[in-house]
C-alpha cells in the first residue's frame, strides 16, 4: 500500500491508502477527496483531476506523456509540477506522495 496525501487549496489534508496499480485519481475518488472532479472517469479526456506534485516527489512521479501534456492545456494555472492524477500510477515507491489540489478544476 502507498500513503498519499492530498493538500487542499485551504490547507486541509486528506491522507489515503492506495493500492499499487490504481491511479492517484482513483485513490482520491474512492476516498471522496474533494477537488478531484475526474469528470471523464480517467480517460485523460477532461483535465479535471489536475494536481500539483510536491517538489520532493516530482522525479518519482515522472513527466507527462504527450496526451497528458495536451490535455493539461484544458486546465488552469498550469505549473511545472502540474499533472493529471489519472495518469499517475500508484506504486510502492510512491508511498508518502504529497500532491496539492488546485483551487478550482473549472
Amino acid at each position: 500500500m502507498a500513503r498519499i496525501t492530498f493538500i487542499q487549496h485551504d490547507g486541509t489534508e486528506y491522507a489515503v491508502e492506495a493500492e499499487p496499480g490504481m491511479t492517484v485519481m482513483e485513490a482520491a475518488v474512492k476516498n471522496s477527496v474533494p477537488g478531484i472532479a475526474a469528470e471523464c472517469g480517467g480517460a485523460c479526456a477532461c483535465a479535471t483531476c489536475h494536481v500539483y506534485v510536491d517538489e520532493a516527489w516530482r522525479e518519482a512521479t515522472g513527466t507527462p506523456e504527450q496526451m497528458e501534456e495536451d490535455m493539461l492545456d484544458f486546465a488552469f494555472d498550469i505549473r511545472p509540477e502540474s499533472r493529471l492524477s489519472c495518469q499517475i500510477k500508484v506504486t510502492e515507491a510512491l508511498d508518502g506522495l504529497v500532491v496539492r489540489v488546485p483551487e478550482k478544476q473549472t
Binding site: 469528470e39 480517460a43 477532461c46 479535471t48 492545456d73 484544458f74 488552469f76
Partner: protein, 347 residues
C-alpha cells in the same frame, strides 16, 4: 421570429430524442420497432455523445456481446443498427425551450429548429457539452459582451483587438478566421506546442511571421475592464513574470464540460441535477416526457450504457401508448417476427 415564420418551418413527428449518445441512438431503434419516428437533437456536431467526445479511442468492456469496443466503434455500430428507421438528426443545436401542447410538445432549439412531437425522450447524459469557463474572478460580467466562447457573427469582432487563448483546433481555427476581420489579433497559449492540426499551426505561424498576428506564451490570471467591457488582461509568462495584454475581446478555448443546461428550466422535477423516473416506463414527472441513460435517477440506478439500453426498450412501450392510443402493442421478438424483420429491412 413571428408566428407565421414558426408555422412555416415546424417539423411534425412522433418523438424527439434529446441527445445522440449511445442511449439516445438506441432509443431510435426501440422506438422504430414500435413504429415511432424520431428526430434526434444534439449540441455536438456528430453522434456518440461522451463516447466520441471524451473517449473515442478508449476501450469499453461492459457492452453485452462485445468483449471490447471503443467509444467510436460503438457509436458507428449503433448508427448502422438504427439506419432502417431513418431518424433525422439535428446537430450543433441545443434544445432551449419545451412547451406543452394538446397531445404533445413543441421543442425549440437555439438554432431556431421547431419540432412538434407526441413524446419527448431526454437522453442527455451528463447534460450538454458547453465551453469551459476559465476560473478568472468576475469573468461572468464580461461574457457575451467582451468574452466569447464561440463565434455567432463574425461582425462582432470587426475592427476590435482580439485575444484568443488556447492551443487546440478551436483556438487555431478562430485565429485564422478572425485575423482578416479583427483590428489586431493575439494568440496566447501556455506552451509553444499545439494540439491543433499541423496545417492550421503552419498557417498561424506564417501569419505571425508576416506580422499579421502576434503569438505570446503565457496564462491569463486576471481580467481588467468596466461594465463588461474588457480593456486588458494580466498574463503570467512562462518565466513567471506577469505582463498586461491590452485587448477588447477575449476568446478562451479550454475544451468542453457537461452542464445540465436548459433542462433545468422545463418545469420537470429534479433531484441532484438528475431527472427522477419510475422504473416501469422511465417517465419523468411530466406525462409524455421520458428520461433515459445517465440523466435519470431511480433507486439502484447505475450509470452504465447497458442500463440506458434497457431503459430505452421500456420507454418505447409506454411511448407507443401515447403515439398510438388506439393500438394494442403485441410483444414480438426480432428473431421470429416477420413484421419486425420487415421494419429492419431484413425480410
Amino acid at each position: 421570429m413571428n408566428d407565421t415564420a414558426i408555422n412555416d418551418t415546424v417539423i411534425k413527428t412522433d418523438a424527439v430524442i434529446i441527445g445522440a449518445g449511445p442511449v439516445g441512438l438506441f432509443a431510435v431503434f426501440e422506438l422504430g420497432l414500435v413504429d415511432i419516428k424520431a428526430h434526434v437533437i444534439d449540441i455536438l456536431d456528430r453522434p456518440g455523445g461522451q463516447c466520441t467526445e471524451l473517449y473515442p479511442e478508449k476501450p469499453i468492456y461492459d457492452i453485452p456481446g462485445l468483449a471490447v469496443v471503443t467509444g467510436q466503434e460503438l457509436t458507428d455500430k449503433l448508427m448502422d443498427q438504427i439506419k432502417p428507421f431513418g431518424a433525422e438528426f439535428h446537430f450543433n443545436q441545443r434544445v432551449e425551450n419545451v412547451e406543452r401542447l394538446e397531445g404533445g410538445f413543441r421543442v425549440t432549439t437555439d438554432a431556431g429548429t421547431v419540432i412538434e412531437a407526441k413524446v419527448l425522450v431526454i437522453a442527455a447524459g451528463g447534460g450538454s457539452f458547453t465551453p469551459k469557463r476559465p476560473p478568472l474572478p468576475g469573468i461572468e460580467d464580461y461574457e457575451g459582451k467582451s468574452v466569447f466562447y464561440s463565434v455567432r457573427k463574425m461582425e462582432t469582432f470587426r475592427d476590435h483587438d482580439v485575444l484568443i487563448v488556447g492551443g487546440g483546433d478551436s483556438a487555431l481555427d478562430w485565429t485564422l478566421n478572425l485575423e482578416p476581420v479583427a483590428k489586431s489579433l493575439t494568440l496566447l497559449h501556455r506552451r509553444a506546442e499545439f494540439r491543433a492540426a499541423p496545417a492550421s499551426v503552419q498557417k498561424m505561424l506564417a501569419l505571425v511571421e508576416s506580422g499579421n498576428i502576434s503569438f505570446k506564451l503565457g496564462q491569463v490570471t486576471a481580467l481588467h475592464g468596466e461594465g463588461g467591457q474588457l480593456t486588458s488582461v494580466t498574463v503570467k509568462g512562462t518565466d513567471g513574470a506577469t505582463f498586461e495584454q491590452p485587448t477588447e475581446i477575449m476568446m478562451p478555448f479550454f475544451g468542453l464540460t457537461m452542464k445540465l443546461g436548459p433542462v433545468a428550466d422545463w418545469g420537470l422535477e429534479l433531484k441532484d441535477n438528475l431527472l427522477p423516473v419510475d422504473t416501469e416506463k422511465f417517465e419523468t414527472s411530466e406525462r409524455g416526457i421520458f428520461a433515459i441513460g445517465d440523466i435519470n435517477t431511480y433507486p439502484g440506478k447505475l450509470k452504465l450504457i447497458l442500463s440506458g439500453f434497457h431503459e430505452a426498450a421500456l420507454m418505447a412501450q409506454q411511448a407507443h401508448k401515447y403515439v398510438y392510443p388506439d393500438k394494442k402493442l403485441i410483444f414480438q421478438y426480432t428473431t421470429s417476427s416477420t413484421n419486425l424483420q420487415k421494419k429492419l429491412g431484413v425480410k
